[in-house]
């Protein structure tokens, strides 16, 4: 077991019922503690399946996964306490206020009382939403929803944070605030697993990446090194070189 690894994935394979082709085909990778790891790939490449397995939402057909040294198969409940998930959807209750949503999510992680109230207040301040604490989510703009969605995933101070397209559909200001916040979290020791189609954002944010296609990892390493190795000038060019220009949808 690698003591510096936040996540270790070995020979992970997942085949869905009724499908002959595996969605994830014997992939292995390691995410170091304190890194921002980008899992990149075209649509249908196997990103969501991999993240779903790592979060405990789906079961692997074969393979081993450990998170912070804990076995995903045997210690799922302990792992759930250590991870945070920010889904692509605004997974909040629109008719509840920001405070009510965060109180519910905090309670689900066992947080309560003054400690929870303090955490909610601090996090809302960090994402610039403190004055909207008592407003219903339904009244929020797209950017505000994305920011509160992020807070919901980090309220319990997870060791590993999974982010699925956290800045999709938001304005430049909100995107900037979110990425700044992610850097802050990372600096505080949180390992971040990030998926996105925004290659420029991934290039700037991630300390390491893995490019996945057809269920297999086709490249992994530091973004800058990978770009240099393939004689490209941007991550987007590298991505297109490795995955091709053919439409996937």
């Amino acid at each position: 077991m690698n003591a510096t690894a936040a996540i270790e994935v070995k020979n992970l394979l997942k085949t869905y019922k009724g499908s002959a082709i595996p969605a994830v085909n014997s992939i292995s990778f390691t995410v170091e503690k304190g890194s921002i790891f980008g899992l990149l790939g075209p649509n249908g490449a196997g990103k969501t399946t991999t993240i779903s397995i790592l979060c405990g939402l789906s079961k692997a057909s074969t393979g081993d996964v450990t998170l912070m040294g804990l076995s995903l198969k045997k210690q799922l409940n302990e792992i759930k306490q250590l991870i945070g998930v920010v889904p692509q959807e605004i997974a909040l209750y629109p008719t509840l206020t920001a405070f009510e949503n965060l109180r519910y999510i905090g309670n689900m992680y066992g947080l309560k009382g003054d400690n929870l109230r303090k955490k909610i207040k601090e996090n809302l301040e960090l994402v610039g939403l403190s004055e909207f604490a008592e407003k219903q989510i339904i009244t929020f703009s797209g950017g505000m929803k994305r920011r509160i969605n992020l807070v919901a995933g980090i309220l319990h101070e997870p060791k590993i944070l999974f982010l699925d397209e956290p800045t999709v559909g938001v304005d430049v200001q909100s995107r900037n605030l979110i990425t700044e916040h992610l850097h802050l979290l990372n600096n505080a020791g949180c390992t971040i697993i990030y998926t996105s189609h925004l290659m420029e954002e991934a290039e700037n944010l991630c300390t390491s990446i893995a490019i996945i296609d057809h269920g297999k990892i086709i490249a992994t390493g530091e973004p800058k090194k990978l770009i240099q190795e393939h004689s490209k000038s941007t991550l987007e060019q590298l991505f297109l070189k490795l995955t091709g220009k053919k439409l996937r949808d």
């Binding site: 209750y93 509840l96 109180r103 689900m108």
Partner: protein
């Protein structure tokens, strides 16, 4: 416990802020109960207490006319209007819808009946060897006695049968009495003062109506209120399937379900919180709807709902029916992918189960073939349990079989939903 409590709190807050949902859950069932009880009041009275309007044209001055009049009155089935009219006018009045049933007793009907009976007695006495039958008045045998009964085409068969039965009873009484009087006369059973020992004939058999429960009989009749309030209460509780399945599908669509699955603890705790919140709504619905039966419906001239004496038994029925409804909500929310599919299926299936369960019309008026299917409707179990309590003063023990079935339905639907979801996730 924190997860459970927090989920209940969250669900209740969401429900309270959904005004449309609140109207569907509370206002509509209460309005439904009031309307249905009012609409079905007349049909229920048909069965129970409504009097049939009847026009009696009694042109006879004798005992036949008066006995028929008395018999119709004593039957307490008819609302009698007495007029002296020609047959043509009576027909006109019936055509114009003033009356559905009319009886015309012709002039001299008693005299004709007496004569016919006299002739019959004379014949029989002669055959028996009594040669002197001079005391019996001989009359014209060719004269016919026809009582005319006019029915409008809409008259129910049961009403016709009631009329004919009452008339036959009255004429038969007169015939028997006349026969006895004539036999007495012929056998010279007269007292010394010359007065006949003529006693009116009494009924040899008395019919006594006994209610099987001790509550005043009037209160325990299956009237519109006693049927509709528990029936639509159960229906309203089951209609929660639309809100509940919608909530499950919405959570699945907006990613909240996924987020919950990534949180520590078992999902069943979250589901239990959701079920508890919706069960609470069902119980509030139940209390409100019973209160409509007790306090509101009498304001519209309807009878007051009688709920029996066992509050613990009512609570058991309400809780198990609520659980069955929420279990069904989870089931529908789990197997359907979109809110439209779930709400359409949920609404239609509840209406079908309601129809089968005797919510629309009581089970006893259903065709025999349907009565088998009735046994499979959870709404029937709930309604039957309420009827046991409200009409038969049932106890906790008497409703346990129904409560058990409702609980089994809850377990079955929940288990199916759980397995289906688990299977689809893996």
């Amino acid at each position: 416990m924190l997860r459970l409590y927090s989920t209940i709190q969250k669900e209740i807050l969401i429900l309270l802020r959904d005004r449309g949902g609140l109207i569907i859950m509370f206002i509509m069932p209460m309005a439904m109960i009031t309307l249905m009880a009012l609409i079905q009041d007349a049909p229920f009275r048909d069965y129970q207490e409504m009097r049939i309007p009847l026009l009696l044209v009694n042109n006879d001055n004798g005992n036949l006319g008066s006995t028929i009049d008395l018999g119709l009155n004593e039957s307490k089935i008819f609302e009698i209007t007495k007029l002296h009219l020609d047959q043509d006018i009576v027909k006109q009045k019936m055509k114009s819808g003033d009356y559905d049933i009319a009886i015309i007793i012709p002039e001299g009907a008693s005299k004709i009946l007496n004569s016919k009976v006299s002739n019959f007695v004379t014949k029989k006495l002669n055959e028996a060897g009594f040669s002197d039958t001079s005391s019996i008045t001989k009359t014209d045998l060719t004269q016919e006695l026809n009582l005319e009964i006019l029915f409008s085409p809409e008259t129910k068969k049961s009403f016709k049968a009631s009329i004919l039965s009452t008339l036959k009873q009255a004429t038969s009484k007169i015939e028997t009495q006349t026969l006895l009087e004539l036999f007495n006369k012929e056998l010279k059973q007269e007292d010394k003062s010359g007065k006949r020992k003529s006693e009116p004939m009494k009924d040899f058999v008395n019919f006594q109506e006994i209610n099987t429960v001790e509550t005043p009989a009037e209160a325990l009749k299956l009237n519109s209120v006693q049927h509709n309030v528990p029936a639509w209460t159960i229906f309203g509780m089951f209609f929660i399937v639309i809100s509940m399945s919608g909530s499950i599908i919405k959570e699945r669509d907006d990613g909240s379900y996924t987020r919950i699955l990534t949180m520590p603890g078992l999902y069943i705790t979250v589901l239990a919180g959701k079920i508890a919140a919706y069960l609470l709504i069902c119980l509030i619905q139940c209390v409100l709807m019973l209160m409509v039966g007790i306090y509101i419906l009498p304001q519209f001239g309807l009878p007051q709902l009688v709920i029996g004496n066992s509050i613990p038994a009512i609570s058991i029925v309400a809780i198990t029916a609520g659980l069955a409804a929420t279990g069904y909500g989870v089931f529908v929310g789990s197997i359907f992918k979109t809110h439209q599919q779930a709400s359409t299926f949920g609404a239609i299936s509840v209406v079908i189960l309601a129809a089968l369960g005797g919510i629309w019309v009581p089970v006893f008026v259903m065709p025999e073939s349907l009565k088998i299917a009735v046994e499979f409707s959870p709404l029937y179990w709930g309604l039957s349990a309420f009827h046991k309590l409200f009409l038969n003063e049932g106890t906790v023990q008497s409703i346990l079989p129904y409560a058990f079935k409702l609980l089994l339905f809850f377990i079955f639907t929940l288990s199916f939903a759980f397995l289906y979801t688990k299977n689809n996730r893996s």
